[in-house]
Structures are given as C-alpha cells and as structure tokens.
Amino acid sequence: MSASPSANMGCMDEFLVATGLTKSFDGVQVVESVSFTVHAKEIFGLLGPNGAGKTTTIRMLSTVLGPDEGDVTVDGHSVGRESDAVRRLIGVCPQELALYPELSATDNLVFFGRMAGLSGKEAKERAADVLERVGLTERAKDAVRKYSGGMKRRVNIAIALMSRPRLLFLDEPTVGIDPQSRNHIFDTVLALRDEGMSVLYTTHYMEEADRLCDRIGVMDAGRIIALGTPTELKAQIGDPGATTLEEVFLSLTGRSLRD
C-alpha cells in the first residue's frame, strides 16, 4: 500500500478528519458523534475532565479500536480500511507508560523503531537523536526501571517519535511530573510542531492547552461541546483578555465531579 502524501491534494491542510465517531462499552456510550479536524502542522488540544472519552477517541484515531459508527481519515487514508497506511504516518504516546522497564531507554527505542519499519542501523541513529531531543542521552544505557517518573514519561514520548510521524498523539503526557520536566516537554512539542509535525494533545490542565494548542476541542461526557482557538473560546463567555481558559472550561463542563 502506498502512503503517498499527495493522496488528497484538495485539502492538504486537513491532516486528520474525524466524522461522527461513536463508541459504547457494555451498552454505555462513552464517545458520541465526535467530529473534528486536525490541520497540518498544528497542535490540536482535546481538553476534558476525567472520563470525558479523550483516550477512547485517541484509540479510535490511532487504529487500535474500531468505532461503532463514524470514520477517520489521516492524510486521506481511512483508519478502518487502510490502517497499514495510517500506521506509517502516526506516532502514539499512550496515557500509561507503555514500555519495557527492565530494558534500557536505547533498547526500548531501537525495538519500537524496528517495529515501525526502521532498519537496525536507522533505528540506532534515530534513537540517539530522539534521546538527545528529550534530554536522556546520559542515562540512555540504564534500565528505565531506575528512572524518575519524569524521565520515564520522556521515554514514553520518545518512543512515539521513533518513526518520524507526521501526526503525533500525546495522551496526557505531563501527568504527575514536575514543572521542569513539564517545560521540557512543552518545548519539545512546540519544536516538533515548528518542524512540521501535527500534534493531537489531550489534557485536563487549562494552562497547558492555553500555552500549547493552536486549536482546542473541549470534550465532556463523550461529546465535543466547544471547538476553536483559545481566544475564540474565551470570547464565548466574556472578555478574551480577562477570562482564563479555566473559567471557560468550568463554565462549559460544570463544576460537579466527573468519572
């Protein structure tokens, strides 16, 4: 299957298009007619409280979970019918650490690189680059088990970068880490965007979305309830200069406990 980037010349700007995604587990609908677009070279934020359906949505976008209804295309390729082509374009950093803690960062990266289709030599070179990028070169040979929480998170992200994805999924990459590591991750994500990567970023921290995202979809109880740039969203409920995204979020999703 060819992954020609010119497959959809007409709408190059729309890199990922999700239409009417719906999914239920055990009869409970957790994602309901979710539609949005991620443009090329933008950071799109999926913002929502616990249990909103962010992770479930990402799983459907990244070929591992089939939607009950709706479809997704990535660079014109259908996620359902051309999952192979889609997988060549994406990199996924799951919410939970998905790596082999008893192995070194390098071993983890090389392995996932090879699974993504790199040759042994390419994978080694790429691993060194990516480790440099996330600031782990010095500890590259240590078992990941011995890393701090923030370092483990960075390895988790680094793995997703191995395949040089055109579209990167980051599912709450900054949970449970200190401000320094968090800033490091922000800088990395912004740099990747500037190099031409599209990023889908989920979070429940307003401040993160405000700082990073070009556009934001606010998700609650399985639905997208607001969509726009941070400024547009703030303008919806008041003076964009004075309102914080936090206020937007709380006014949109209510103040009761989720989950």
């Binding site: 990199g91 799951p94 998905a98």
Partner: protein, 394 residues
C-alpha cells in the same frame, strides 16, 4: 517474518535482564535436582551390604565370601535360602546372591561355576554395584583355582618345559574365551516399568521448570495488555498476527534457552551421554517449549487478571508434573495412568529418558513428538481465536 523474530528476541533479552526469572528457571532446578539426588540416591562414598546365601558350604564358597567382605565399603550378611527369598519378597532386600551347591567342586574340576543373583526390580543402585564387584572378586578367585589346577596337573605329569608352555597357551586361550565364573541373573519381578527414579528425575525436573517459567510468562502478557504495550505495538507496523507469532516464539525461545542451559550443565557435570544425545535432547526441548508456549498463550487469552493467569499456570504445571511421572513412576493402569495421559510431562519424560540413556533416538520418540506438537498446534489455534490485545471490554 523479521518483526516476530525481533519481538521474540526482545523477550529473551527481557528474560535475561530479569535476575529473578533467571534464578527461578535455571538456579532453582539445579538446586532441586541436587537435593533429589541427595535424598533418593547418590551417596558420596559407596556403602552396601551383600546379602548372601551359601548353599555350597565348600572351601571356594567361604573364600569368595571372605574376599567380598574384604572389599572396602561392602559388608556381607549371610542368610538361609528361605530367609533370603523372604527378605526379597518383602523388598527388605533388593539384590541377593546365592552360591549354589557344587560351586567349589565345579571350580576344582575346572568346570564353569556360577553365582546366582536374585533381584527385586532393578535391584537398586547399591545392589547393581555390589553385583559387579562380586563378579570381579569371583573372576579372580576362579582364575586362581584354574591356575592351581593347571599347575598341579603339569607337575603331576613329569613334564618338559615345552609342554608347560604349550599347555599354558591352551589355558590362556580358554580363559579368554569364557569368564571362569558366570554371574547368572534371575529377575524376581519384571524389571521393565520400575527404573531408577533418578533416570526420570533429571528430565522430569527440566520439563517441570520449563512448564513453570513459560506458562507463568502468561502473566506478563496480561500485564502488557493492561499497561498498553500490546496495543502500542499495534500502532506500529506490527500486525496482530505478527504480534501473536512473536509472543509464541518468545515463549519457545525462553523455554529453549533455559532447557539447553540445564541440559548442557547436566551433560558436563553428570557426563550422562554424548553430543548426539545432547543435540537430540535440544530438538525435543524445542517441541516441549512450543507446547508450553502455546499453553501460556491460551492462559493469557482466557485469564482476565495477573492473578488468574498465575494460578492457572501453577495449577496446570503442578498437575502435569505430579501426574506426569516426575516424582513417582506412572502406574501401568488405572486412574493415575489415565491422568498421566493428559500431561505433557509423561510424553516429554519418556522421550528424554530414552535419548539421555542413549537407548533410543528421536526417531523412536515419533509418537511422543507427535502428541507434543499436536498440543502446541491445538493450543495455538484456540489461543489465537480467543486472544485480546487490549483491555477493551467486549
């Protein structure tokens, strides 16, 4: 095909990186085997009693008994024939030696003489060693009688040196043709089924630990399903079939690594057999590891939690180990025999035993290999049908 192999290699690497797993699957079997040898056999210095009945009561017989007694580590106990047979019946004695009437006369006349061995089963390790020692003692005694007879013969015939020489030549040729005392075996119980437990213990323990460590790896597979590494792998270019194949090969690889290390150690330390037997055992290990790995995949497919997987693995392994003839011989009929047919161990141990003893080859184990491969195939199909790669609810 390279991706599943890379995946399997990664798993082997993880196995090696995991000190605990290594200790469990390689050090523990060695310790257990050493303990078993200590309990069931293998005293460090040889010590045995020769249980002897002297029906001859002649001079040669008493001389034989005296000389056996002089051998270091062997004591002689004398029995009447009835008491010896009774002791054998009760298995109080496993090997008895009977010096038949006419033993002395036969030696004096230069006719073949024999000592009879009465055994229960294989006669036990000590019994077998005693018999071979007695054989040596009896042979040298007989040679002396022969020599004495020949000399007195020559001397009585007022002979010439030439005749002495010629006569000696004939005697030597005769001596070489046939050992002067034959030790005749008379087995009291059919020997076949009742072999030395240690012969089965080595393959038994190897198979048990292979089953343990490979089936327990089902638990790590469930962990990977829960923490999302399996799902993450599916977002790379690895297909579900490749992932499944890789995990199967991983189990085979782990099992092979562990078994081959143990086998090589056994060959080097115990010197049990030659290189060809080692190579054939390795091939057998491949089939056993394939069956175990496929069982692990079934466990991982069916179990919902780590705990369930662990208990399933422990139960299956213990059941197969106990009823598959690892610690006691398989009964020749009845429920226990029936149960043993549902174990991998029975077939694996049977095949290993012959190969390690160098009395059989892989070719003789076609039946066992077919059963083990069949189990592997069926379990693989079942596991593939039931296997889930993510924690998604149905």
């Amino acid at each position: 095909m390279t991706r599943p192999i890379l995946l399997a290699l990664l798993e082997v690497k993880r196995f090696i990186a995991d000190r605990g797993a290594l200790a469990f699957s390689i050090a523990l079997p060695i310790i257990l085997f050493a303990l078993m040898v200590g309990v069931f056999g293998g005293e460090t210095s040889f010590n045995a009693t020769a249980h002897v009945t002297d029906l001859d009561r002649g001079q040669a017989a008493s001389e034989l008994i005296e000389r056996i007694e002089q051998v270091e580590g062997i004591d002689v106990r004398l029995y009447t024939e009835e008491r010896l047979d009774d002791a054998l019946d009760r298995s109080a004695v496993l090997t008895g030696l009977v010096i038949p009437a006419g033993f002395t006369a036969a030696l004096e006349d230069g006719r073949p003489a024999s000592v009879q061995v009465r055994r229960r089963g294989s006669g036990g390790d000590a019994g077998q060693i005693t018999v071979s020692i007695v054989r040596g003692v009896a042979d040298s005694l007989a040679s002396e009688y022969e020599l004495r007879r020949a000399l007195s013969h020559l001397v009585s015939e007022a002979t010439t040196p030439e005749r002495v020489e010629a006569q000696t030549g004939i005697l030597l040729a005769e001596a070489l043709r046939e050992p002067p005392v034959r030790v005749v075996n008379r087995a009291l119980v059919e020997q076949e089924e009742e072999e030395d437990i240690l012969d089965r213990m080595l393959p038994g323990i190897i198979v048990m630990f292979l089953l343990f460590s490979v089936t327990l790896s089902a638990q790590t597979l469930i962990e990977e399903r829960r923490n999302g590494t399996l799902e993450r792998l599916l977002t790379t270019r690895l297909s579900a079939d490749e992932l499944f194949t890789g995990k199967f090969l991983a189990g085979v690889g782990r099992g092979m690594l562990q078994t081959v290390v143990l086998l090589v150690l056994a060959f080097v330390v115990l010197r049990i057999a030659g290189v060809s037997a080692l190579a054939q055992s390795a091939v057998l290990a491949l089939v056993v590891a394939a069956a175990a790995s496929a069982i692990a995949l079934v466990i991982a497919a069916v179990a919902r939690t780590d705990d369930q997987a662990t208990w399933a693995a422990v139960f299956i392994t213990m059941f197969m180990t106990v009823f598959g003839g690892t610690f006691f011989p398989i009964a020749s009929s009845g429920v226990l025999e029936l149960l043993s047919r549902f174990t991998l161990n029975r077939y694996a141990i049977d095949a290993y035993e012959g190969i390690l003893a160098e009395t059989a080859t892989l070719g003789d184990a076609t039946f066992e290999i077919a059963i083990l491969s069949g189990v592997a195939l069926v379990c693989l199909i079942v596991a593939r049908l039931l296997f889930r790669f993510s924690s998604e609810a149905k």
